[in-house]
Symmetry: C2
Subunit: 335 residues, 2 copies
Amino acid sequence: MDERKQRILGAVVSDYTETVVPVGSHALAARYFLELSSATIRNELSELVDDGFLTQPHASAGRIPTDLGYRYFVDFLLPQEIVEPPLRRRVRQSFDEVDRDVEAILELAAATLSRLSDNVALVTGPSNTRAVLLHVELVLARPGQALLIVVANGNSVHQRAVEVPVDLDQDQLSSLAALLKRTFGGMTAGGIEESPEIEGVPTGLLAELIHGLRQIETRASLVIHDGVRNLVRNPEFEDPNRLRTVLEVLEAQRILAAVVSELAPRAGMQMVIGHENRLEELQDCSLVLTSYRAGEQMWGTLGVVGPTRIRYGRVAARLQLVSQLMGEALSRLLT
Amino acid sequence: MDERKQRILGAVVSDYTETVVPVGSHALAARYFLELSSATIRNELSELVDDGFLTQPHASAGRIPTDLGYRYFVDFLLPQEIVEPPLRRRVRQSFDEVDRDVEAILELAAATLSRLSDNVALVTGPSNTRAVLLHVELVLARPGQALLIVVANGNSVHQRAVEVPVDLDQDQLSSLAALLKRTFGGMTAGGIEESPEIEGVPTGLLAELIHGLRQIETRASLVIHDGVRNLVRNPEFEDPNRLRTVLEVLEAQRILAAVVSELAPRAGMQMVIGHENRLEELQDCSLVLTSYRAGEQMWGTLGVVGPTRIRYGRVAARLQLVSQLMGEALSRLLT
DNA sequence: CATTAGCACTCTCGGCAGTGGAGTGCTAAT
DNA sequence: ATTAGCACTCCACTGCCGAGAGTGCTAATG
């Protein structure tokens, strides 16, 4: 594809992205290519249609990009965008203000990202591949039931109600917890799992302990979203059925988690455009995904869902910013 | 209002609720009042319009209920509906399966309620007016920072990162936690607040402790919602602007919490119909709210948001069911 | 006197034709 | 290779019409 054709494709994508109206040769000539006539552009457009990068809603209409067109655009033509420094500063500041717990950071990230991208933001909980057991506590809730509290690095606390022998009192539970801590402190979930049984520790309790640490190791099944309000502004989702289809996916934690974890971009920025989505329900949408990380061990995914004409460059830049700030905020929680 | 007029109002509400089409005198005569002529019904309808219970989209159209009409309907004409026993059983079963932690119950309640009501479900976190401190733990996260873990009855665990003197090690923290527990164990937030300071306990730590217990005392600021996908099916929300307005409220935690807590029905079932909503953004909607409770001390709000023609009777019955099951599930967590 | 049949009137909605305009593809000239 | 010109296509919009649903009013009825 020669350079002029590329420029024309880029212009069509840009223009359509803004106006959401099929763009014709005259408009292109007037707005982008003062040195070319509309007839020339028409010829190029026609070829771009043949190549599958553009399409027409009907025979005598302007062109709109196909999924393939967007794909070419993001792969080869994406302008490097930056986040305006004042905005950057404001966002950084809001992240500086929360550094207490993981949930708060996830929620702030989702809220910020949906606002910055004008679309729906997705954030998964972090996996911590090297979650280390710091502390174990057992608190008697009522006879026969106790709360197992597992603390791992990264300010991660998980609780779980567990059955215990009815005759145990709080003192005995405390020594049991101390025993657990002495034995397993500093280990990862894998390490605990490999341990032999211990005298005096009910096997059920051991299983629960591992389970608790697992939860800390991977919270990726948690996917939060924010900014559905932005979705309905897009003309492509005026049709209630289309909108509903997308909403059903967004509200189905499990499906959403599967989608995101399948794509899970370990590094860099990933775009999934329209029909590139495995899930049929998302084939009217594009995803822009990246990962956040805190240190080497803790990481998760965050991204944006929007129409296929989403402003990839702008969204990517802002996503990048949020990813970075979020990672930094989480790092501050790690020991 | 005589009995016949009441029946006619009721019939209009029922019919419109189902069909979402203005209902005329002929349809009414044919479907509900075989003993009356359409002309008679027309006279009655005309009076109902004068009284403000009904309105017409245009001069020669059928009638639709006004907010006042719905208000009269729910106050005086609401048929007592029951939840079909098989459905009841299925729902009960799903609640029997989660009894581990509060969050899971809240989420199950929201999911269930949105499905049963075909609308958006709202659930607030529980307030526990008699949250009692069971256990305190301090875990060193890194020098100078520790995790304060507060356990109260009702399987409530709250964590908070706190600053501590840099030179404290885990053993010292543990004894400090033990001291806190000895001193404050069994107290409520109020009780702790009234305590004098204690030798060796940093005042900041005391403040954090109270804060942690406060969080357990009232989690009502947490409002979760589910079932937005159901909202877009309603013809009254085909207009993206209307939909957007409602979504903005639903996604704004803080506003939503204010709305719900202001209404907070301590007992019984509360309907807020259209313009009865203080918040302008919700004036196209109706809320059906009730409270759930676990024991005497723990309670919260749950409800349904839908169009003003929501099926009040049916929704109320199902809301009632979920409220009850949710309360029972939470009770099982309380000591 | 409440009820009802009858009727003229109103308003919406769907279909249809006509029109203007935006945009295309093709051809021939540069 | 580019471009001016032109015929052609198709959509979006408009106005118009008729059918249908529904009303309000009037006069008749038990």
